[in-house]
């Protein structure tokens, strides 16, 4: 197996798609893009709504329906950027979410490989048990989690939230990765060993590129579920590691329901996730570039 072969295969593939595209009947392609387009328009309308709300004053929002801000204002964003209790929320969230995503994916990779390639005592039960950890309603777990992490002195730290989110993210990562790994034939592993690859080198240089789309999807989902998780993040933090979602609950307090501020905060919450998916998009869309073995 050599790098040349992978290059040869990857240069074949785009041609393949191009040839297929031209050979395809014209009408199918014309209608084909309509579906995703309609869907995306459907998705964008409420987001546009959110965006406009963030540039309006609360009075304008609650006063009546306006399709765009009549009184354009940056005040909402100003508050967020200048008030530490707001922007630190973002920083904290990003920190613990990144830690969690890293831990979850790194721990899940060998485990998923084991589930995919080997049979061992209790494997099927273990696999299903992992998923059961996503099945419990969070509300009642808040108190026990608080007690647990306080007891080990990790209250109000980023690592506490990152670790606690492993409860639902690690099983998800294992499940998704296992699904993709099972699509790679075992023969590839065996050929690599015959060619003299050690396991770590095989895993990083040959295997991981083959499940690239799975890794991309997994990383994104771990990021996403950790980012939006509100209850545990609020429970396990108070000041130092307070996440943005908790900061947002401030908007429904003393001065009434500050919708504009909430909207601005909401808009800003979308951005880190959008960046993440932008970076992993290539992994998700990557074809199964079967290199020559």
């Amino acid at each position: 197996m050599s790098e040349n072969t992978a290059v040869a295969a990857s240069t074949t593939m785009p041609r393949a798609a191009a040839a297929r595209a031209t050979a395809r009947s014209g009408s199918r392609v014309r209608l084909g893009w309509l579906v995703p387009t309609i869907y995306i328009v459907f998705l964008m309308v409420p987001i546009y709504w959110l965006l406009t709300m963030s540039f309006k004053t609360t009075n304008e929002i609650l006063g009546g329906l306006t399709l765009w801000p009549h009184k354009f204002t940056f005040a909402n964003y100003q508050t967020i950027f200048t008030d530490p209790s707001w922007y630190m929320g973002y920083v904290n969230s990003i920190i613990y979410v990144t830690i969690n995503t890293l831990i979850s994916v790194v721990a899940a990779l060998p485990a998923a490989y084991a589930f995919s390639r080997y049979r061992f005592l209790g494997d099927k039960h273990l696999f299903f048990w992992l998923l059961t950890n996503r099945m419990a309603p969070p509300a009642v777990f808040a108190l026990p989690f608080f007690q647990l992490y306080s007891a080990i002195g990790l209250f109000d730290t980023h690592i506490a939230v990152a670790l606690s989110h492993c409860l639902f993210n690690v099983p998800l990562a294992v499940w998704i990765l296992e699904g993709f790994m099972s699509g790679v034939p075992k023969e590839i592993d065996e050929t690599a060993y015959i060619d003299g690859y050690s396991w770590p080198r095989f895993f990083t240089k040959i295997f991981m590129p083959l499940i690239a789309s799975g890794i991309g999807v997994t990383a994104f989902f771990c990021f996403m579920f950790s980012w939006v998780e509100l209850l545990l993040a609020k429970t396990l933090t108070s000041v130092a590691a307070k996440p943005i979602a908790a900061a947002m609950t401030k908007t429904a307090s003393a001065s009434g329901y500050q919708v504009g501020l909430l909207a601005a905060a909401g808009v800003l919450t979308i951005i880190p996730g959008a960046i993440v998916i932008y970076f992993v998009r290539n992994y998700i869309a990557k074809g199964f570039a079967l290199g020559r073995v």
Binding site: Y113, R117, F120, L121, F128
Partner: protein, 287 residues
């Protein structure tokens, strides 16, 4: 695939096991503890056996909430899974539009759930919301704060808007890992578009689809924040799904015992249904 028997694989699984078990077992024990003990405050607990469980299982209120949750989940799955797969199939595989599509589709997933609820709360208001005004303008008498049917409609629409992209992303990633050679071979064999879907794409997507179905099932069954912010369970209790009911009992009445018991029952229901789903969908894996 042919898996080799190798008990040393446990070492590869160990980090995962530690991370999850640490977070799962201790809290679980606490909850079980609460569910079988009565308290009258002041940290005095008395063993109450399965009393709370019986109360919950026989309560009318629980049954209604359960039914609503089941109905909601069924509708959600019936819409989101086929829709997500169809969109994934129609998406471009290469080129600049792929990035655009993926990023845009992912945006609803990234919004904190309370914000999602808040957006739709305002968006659907009959007077000042874009959706509400439009629907009323067309001729529907639409008000989700008053009519249960409208509330359900809005709730379902919100969830579809929020979560279908999850199915799309998973399905798309699954489709992307099908080697080109399969399509090529299908061409050579003269297969129709439907045959390609049925014999190549669908089987290869089976694993990811299972994950998508299970994820959506669990999350829609446990849904709390969005409906809570959107309708608060109303009008009346027409959208009071299980978790909303649970939180009302736990936090509203601060009855740890019944709340814990309800959580366990809740969890067991999900467990049972997931297990059924999983077994059905994975039935063919073992030869």
């Amino acid at each position: 695939m042919d898996k080799t028997w190798n008990n040393r694989a446990w070492f590869m699984v160990l980090p995962v096991l530690v991370l999850v078990a640490f977070n799962a077992i201790i809290p679980l024990m606490t909850v079980v503890n609460y569910s079988v003990q009565e308290t009258f405050g002041d940290n005095v607990f008395l063993f109450h056996g399965v009393g709370f469980f019986q109360d919950v299982l026989t309560s009318e209120r629980f049954h209604s909430a359960l039914l609503r949750s089941l109905a909601f989940t069924a509708i959600i799955l019936a819409i989101e899974i086929p829709l997500g797969v169809a969109i994934a199939l129609a998406m471009p595989r290469k080129g600049i539009w792929v990035s655009v599509c993926l990023v845009l589709m992912a945006l609803p997933l990234l919004i904190p759930w309370n914000v999602v609820g808040a957006i739709w709360n305002l968006f659907a208001l009959p007077e000042i919301g874009l959706l509400g005004r439009t629907l009323n303008g067309i001729g529907f008498d639409y008000n989700y704060t008053r009519h249960p049917v409208d509330a359900w409609f809005t709730l379902v629409l919100m969830d579809v808007w929020h979560w279908t992209s999850l199915v799309v992303l998973l399905a798309y990633a699954g489709l992307s890992s099908i080697p080109d050679a399969y399509y090529q071979a299908a061409k050579i064999d003269g297969a129709s578009r439907w045959a390609v879907f049925r014999f190549i794409q669908l089987p290869k997507m089976k694993r990811v689809l299972t994950i998508a179905v299970l994820l959506r099932f669990m999350d829609s069954f446990m849904i709390y924040t969005e409906p809570s912010v959107l309708t608060g369970g109303g009008p009346g209790n027409s959208t009071t799904v299980l978790s909303i009911d649970l939180v009302k009992i736990a936090l509203g009445q601060f009855d740890l015992g019944p709340a814990a018991a309800m959580s366990i029952i809740y969890f067991l229901i999900i467990l049972l249904l997931c297990w059924i789903f999983y077994t059905l969908m994975m039935r063919n894996e073992e030869q």
